[in-house]
């Protein structure tokens, strides 16, 4: 298998650029689980009052909208993409529940702890990254045996 290291580095640089620009421009951490979870909690308790609360809700929704619309930009630029989902439906459900609950309990996921937190050498983020990478590698390894 060819390691696609050029597109990996380029795509990675875009991830870093997006989170860096959000940090410098708005002072916010581009953690996807934090942004999505924050929006979900806003919707659950009824939209927050106050200009600051409403502004944050709108920003979270717009960030997620941009993320959802990224394939349109990618195909517009001439990209070609097919993705492979190997997991069956019950596995996808368990996986989604664990990812959603775990990322909120652990205050972040691959983006918040990985791209943002680890890059500022946050002890918490480095620890979180070690734990979730280890758990994910162990899960894949166990899956081979089943």
């Amino acid at each position: 298998m060819t390691p696609d290291w050029i597109s990996g580095l380029l795509g990675g640089a875009l991830l870093g650029a997006a989170s860096g620009l959000l940090l410098l421009g708005s002072g916010r951490i581009a953690g996807i689980s934090g942004i999505a979870g924050g929006l979900i909690e806003d919707l659950m308790r009824g939209l927050p009052g106050g200009a600051a609360g409403r502004r944050l809700t709108a920003e979270n929704a717009l960030f997620l909208l941009g993320l959802l619309l990224a394939p349109a930009l990618y195909f517009g630029l001439g990209g070609v993409k097919e993705i492979g989902v190997e997991a069956d439906a019950p596995t996808l459900i368990v996986s989604g529940l664990l990812v959603g609950f775990g990322a909120r309990l652990g205050s972040g996921c691959t983006s918040g702890h990985g791209v943002c937190g680890a890059a500022r050498l946050s002890r918490r983020s480095l620890a979180a990254m070690g734990v979730f990478m280890g758990a994910a590698i162990a899960t894949v390894a166990l899956g081979r045996l089943v």
Partner: protein, 148 residues
Amino acid sequence: MRRLLSFATGLVFGLGLLISDMADPSRVLGFLDVLAIPEGGWDPTLIFVMAGAMSVSAAAWALARPRRAALFGGPMPGPARPRIDARLIGGSALFGVGWGLSGICPGAGLAALGVGGAPIALFLAAMVAGMALFALVERSLARGRASA
């Protein structure tokens, strides 16, 4: 400006996931599958993605450190909290198991919805439910503490 920046950075973040191919769960699983190393089938791409992301992100943090306020208004994040607690470790472990089961993390799932169709939508619905469940548990624990 902050709203426009939020939308634009979401878009670029998703583009990064698509260009690096990390929106594709099979590529992520190919990296996590370290037992494939002796067989020669291991996919190291995620390392390059993280290297690209961390170097640009670290440069942004270096620029951010002396700033008191964000360019378009609002405070900068405070210093990173140092305390590693059971919530951080337990939550990250649950997250890691979930991530290893499918190869999908929150950002990749959202960026892949327009490409991946029903399986991705199912994952995202469960992820939203997991986040909502967490919020409900948090709230009832907070109520319990308040009434105790």
